[in-house]
């Protein structure tokens, strides 16, 4: 099904199942521990051996020699894989660094060897006996240092010009009220709860991989490319994924090393990355240094806005696109956005939940707060005054939907914003300084081709198969809701099969495109199936109605089960998107509100209340969508208050590489959270008229918290995370 014109009335609009808060259909499995994750598939293949990865102990240099004698002789060891024994390996198109080092080492904890043994304990013990002789080379680890002298570029591609609209420099120089401030965000770790894990089994030259991956088709292709085998010989299975957040978008070392280990051992091999390997072996969200300049008239109209961001990555890597939202979020005739990309020899930087916008808004939305204060305006009023309903660079290009003002106004009312004191450090509650903060949230809507196969059997059961993944996003449930709605059956008549490369290729989970694109693919397949049903019954497909497990046309009514008959019926189709996303700017919007308490004497920060108001197209399942948003708000709270991969600038690695050192929010950090979804349908996005919320939820949260801390204390911190040593000396005098 081609989607080239805005959707009209269609079966999804019945909203009998879609749009209803629905318990997850995978809930009973997940809550009883019976949903099987990658490392747990004792059932799929016998005789699994255990793999344990040895990571590089240097950040950059060469391996002179590896002494494997002791490890080989250790009890239980079956095979050892290193670059010397692995044979010629390719590199995935989406990998910046190789997944197996040797002779060159590109980053700390890059895999250098794999031990395969009879038991986990034996593999781990033998891994400690691998002696690697390294020649350490000088590396580049200090972002601020490496950004010096790097030229500005537009979208990060070599030679692309800086993005300019109007004449920023002149307008900024002429503006009566200006801000010029620099903000920093640190490296972040996805830190999903399930470590990267894979079981690999060869059957002749064919490989099956049970793994934990957000993008099945990418994983299959990249694994084939890396191993140098035809992709038809690779099957990837990933029905349950213990969190990803972008960290499982790409092929990683667990998959490649399991495949190599299984080949070397002549039997299936399972590997889970040890938690302390994850931060440095896998990808992370790169740190940024962002300069923001805003110029405005005295009545608060932005006339000039510039956002520059610098980040680093390994050679061949890309920038953190933290300036993206600044192209579209606020009006202003004169604009400049640009990036710098330094080469760093730290582990590979890559996508993490809302790449670009998440760190970009952490900076921009503090800048907006600072600017509002300079103007003597309420931060909400300042944002509303600078709303734009068109792409500021192309004024004839409209937003398909843009309810940012409504998000801010409803949030203001709901949160009790009018009680906020404009002057900082005015509110005390016992020993606590109390403040409120607001920020806008923004994330673009992306659509991706997505296919599915849908069948009906003799019992009237509808089965959907697609290689789409559920990474906690609630995909199983919204796909079941979609099929139930279109086929006119109750939810419990739908079976959803996901995460298997033998199923039609879907959009996969990333960039908050998954919900809208994958359900639109299921919709397309269901519509095709409806035609087959009508055809088999001799019904005119234009007049046919699917409801209550029956197919009706005029006064004829047939059970869907009977229509399917003993042979059953099935159909496969894909949703393919035209250029509506170019004609219209499709984006999602939010307002984030936060109230914090900062202890007047210790500087301890406690989040007291959080609210998000989201406008993101049709909400397919308000229950799981709300969960996506509160989860993103929680991750945003982590980014604001505690998350930072600490860089050892001498040796080039992330020091706090486990869950004791890399702090993420826990129960005690997070209050009750409130989420409001505005009524919205976006007919330009897909037949579902939905967009995404999973990344919108994190966009702006950090700044709302930062602004609340400023409002509470009068101390502005522009360097995330906002930990107490950064403002202790600026707390108000304690009486």
């Amino acid at each position: 099904m081609k989607f080239t014109t805005p959707a009209g009335q269609n079966p999804i609009d019945q909203l009998k199942v879609i749009g209803k808060p629905t318990d997850r259909i995978d809930g009973p499995k997940k809550t009883t521990g019976t949903a099987p994750y990658a490392y747990e598939r004792h059932d799929v293949v016998p005789n699994q051996a255990y793999g344990y990865i040895v990571g590089a102990a240097i950040a950059k240099g060469r391996i002179n020699a590896i002494d494997l004698a002791e490890a080989k002789a250790a009890p239980g060891v079956i095979a050892i894989v290193t670059a010397d024994s692995a044979g010629r390996l390719g590199k995935g198109k989406m990998n910046t660094a190789k997944l197996l080092a040797g002779p060159d080492v590109e980053h700390y904890h890059q895999a250098v060897a794999l031990i395969v043994a009879e038991t986990f304990e034996q593999a781990r013990a033998a891994a400690a006996l691998v002696r690697v002789d390294y020649a350490r080379a000088k590396g580049r680890f200090d972002l601020a240092e490496q950004l010096k002298g790097i030229p500005l570029t537009g979208d990060g591609n070599a030679g692309s010009p800086v993005d300019r609209v109007g004449d920023f420099a002149r307008a900024f120089a002429a503006a009566p009220v200006t801000l010029d401030a620099t903000y920093t965000t640190p490296d972040h770790s996805h830190a999903m709860m399930e470590p990267h894990a894979s079981i690999a089994a060869w059957d002749g030259d064919a490989l099956t991989l049970w793994t934990s991956n957000q993008m099945i088709a990418w994983g299959k292709e990249e694994l084939a490319l890396t191993l140098g085998i035809p992709k038809e010989k690779v099957r990837v299975i990933s029905p349950y994924i213990g969190g990803g957040f972008g960290g499982k978008l790409f092929l990683r070392a667990d998959a490649v090393m399991a495949a190599l280990g299984a080949r070397a051992a002549g039997r299936p091999v399972k590997i889970a990355l040890a938690r302390p390997m994850m931060a440095n072996n896998t990808t992370h969200r790169p740190a940024t240094i962002q300069r923001i300049r805003i110029g405005a008239t005295k009545d608060g109209k932005i006339t000039a806005i510039a956002h520059e961001s610098g980040s680093g990555d390994l050679p061949g890597g890309g920038p953190e696109t933290a300036v993206n939202q600044t192209k579209l979020l606020y009006a202003g005739a004169n604009r400049l956005t640009a990036m710098r990309l330094a080469v760093l020899d730290l582990p590979e930087g890559n996508a993490m939940r809302a790449p670009g916008e998440a760190p970009g808004l952490m900076a921009l939305e503090i800048a907006m707060d600072e600017m509002a204060e300079k103007l003597g305006m309420d931060p909400i009023a300042f944002r509303i005054a600078n709303d734009t309903q068109v792409d500021p660079a192309k004024p004839d290009r409209k937003f398909s939907q843009r309810q940012l003002i409504e998000c801010l106004q409803q949030g203001s009312e709901r949160f009790g914003w009018q009680a906020r004191k404009a002057k900082a450090a005015q509110v005390r509650d016992g020993q606590w300084l109390v403040g409120m903060g607001v920020a806008a949230g923004f994330r673009n809507n992306i659509t991706m081709k997505s296919a599915a196969r849908v069948g009906i059997d003799r019992k009237g059961m509808v089965t959907v198969a697609t290689d789409m993944t559920d990474i906690g996003t609630g995909t199983y449930t919204i796909i079941a809701q979609t099929a139930a709605e279109v086929m006119g059956v109750p939810l419990d008549k739908v079976i959803v099969l996901l995460g298997d490369s033998s199923f039609p290729v879907s959009a996969g989970s990333g960039g908050q495109w998954g919900a809208n694109s994958s359900t639109a693919g299921v919709y397309a397949a269901c519509m095709k199936l409806r035609e087959s049903v009508a055809q088999r019954l001799g019904f005119n497909s234009a007049e046919v109605e699917f409801a209550g497990g029956k197919v009706r046309s005029g006064n004829r009514s047939v059970d869907l089960a009977d229509a399917a008959g003993d042979a059953g019926l099935s159909a496969e189709d894909a949703i393919e998107f035209g250029d509506l996303g170019k004609q219209y700017q499709q984006s999602t919007f939010a307002s984030h509100f936060c109230e914090v308490g900062v202890h007047a004497m210790t500087g301890e920060i406690r989040i007291r209340r959080m609210l998000a108001v989201c406008a993101a197209g049709r909400i397919l399942n308000p229950k799981s969508a709300r969960n996506q948003v509160i989860g993103a708000m929680t991750m945003g709270a982590g980014a604001a208050l505690m998350e930072e991969l600490a860089v050892d600038k001498r040796f080039g690695f992330f020091v706090n590489h486990d869950l004791a050192g890399y702090e993420v929010p826990v129960h005690a950090d997070i209050p009750h959270q409130e989420v409001i979804f505005l009524d919205e349908v976006d007919p330009t996005s897909s037949p579902m008229k939905a967009k995404g919320v999973g990344e919108l939820g994190i966009c702006g949260v950090g700044a709302a918290i930062a602004n609340a801390i400023y409002n509470a204390t009068g101390a502005r911190v522009r360097d995330y995370p906002i930990t107490l040593e950064k403002f202790m000396d600026r707390l108000p005098e304690v009486a």
């Binding site: 009973p28 969190g243 969960n627």
Partner: protein, 210 residues
């Protein structure tokens, strides 16, 4: 959790293993290869898991977590960090919750262990499991069994009058409040960030029980 007698058995078990290893080393000694390291010591252990007696002979380095997951194939208990940092491996031993990754299996001779599988199954959910479904107290599901085991134990701890950091007054019994629940659940990380819903689920069960 264990008697001095058990400890004696452990020492003897390891010694016996050591003797056997020494003999093996001698018989395979070869000047061309480095000395063969000691074979891993194994030991017999039996404990009760979800009401069923389980007898195992394990490498003594095997954690309770890996005994459950790799030897008994009870994979509902999750390995998130293997270092006692995340709580995904929470199980109950003799009614008390522990991080099973921080405990060697052979330390549990005779113990009574309850895992997520022992609380309920998809067709007959434990009230806490049902409350997690109702309140959407999870996303990816990987920390969920640990959260649920912890939650069940937390309510028992509060009921038993065990104070926490959040308990204001140690002379009175702790109450089931959001602060108490959040404090006591803070060893169970949910990176998906479903905390707000998890607390709602626990409160729901606590209310039903009250």
């Amino acid at each position: 959790m264990k008697s001095p007698v058990d400890t004696e058995i452990s020492r003897r078990g390891i010694l016996v293993g050591g003797v056997a290893t020494a003999a093996l080393t001698v018989s395979t000694a070869d000047a061309q290869t480095p000395p063969t390291p000691a074979q891993p010591a194994t030991m017999k252990v039996s404990f009760d898991v979800n009401g069923k007696r389980r007898n195992l002979e394990l490498d003594t380095r095997t954690t309770l977590l890996d005994a459950l997951r790799e030897h008994l194939h009870l994979t509902g208990t999750k390995k998130g960090c293997d270092h006692g940092q995340c709580g995904a491996c929470t199980v109950m031993v003799d009614g008390q919750r522990i991080n099973s990754c921080l405990s060697l299996a052979v330390m549990h001779q005779g113990d009574r262990i309850t895992t997520i599988e022992g609380l309920g199954q998809p067709d007959r959910l434990h009230p806490m499991q049902a409350a997690f479904v109702k309140h959407d107290g999870y996303q990816c599901g990987y920390c969920t069994p640990g959260q649920i085991c912890s939650a069940v134990a937390v309510l028992d701890e509060i009921k038993a009058g065990i104070p926490s950091h959040a308990t204001g007054d140690f002379t009175t019994r702790p109450a089931i409040t959001n602060e108490e629940i959040r404090e006591r659940m803070s060893g169970n990380i949910c990176r998906c960030g479903a905390y707000s819903n998890i607390v709602d689920a626990i409160n729901d069960v606590a209310g039903v029980r009250a």
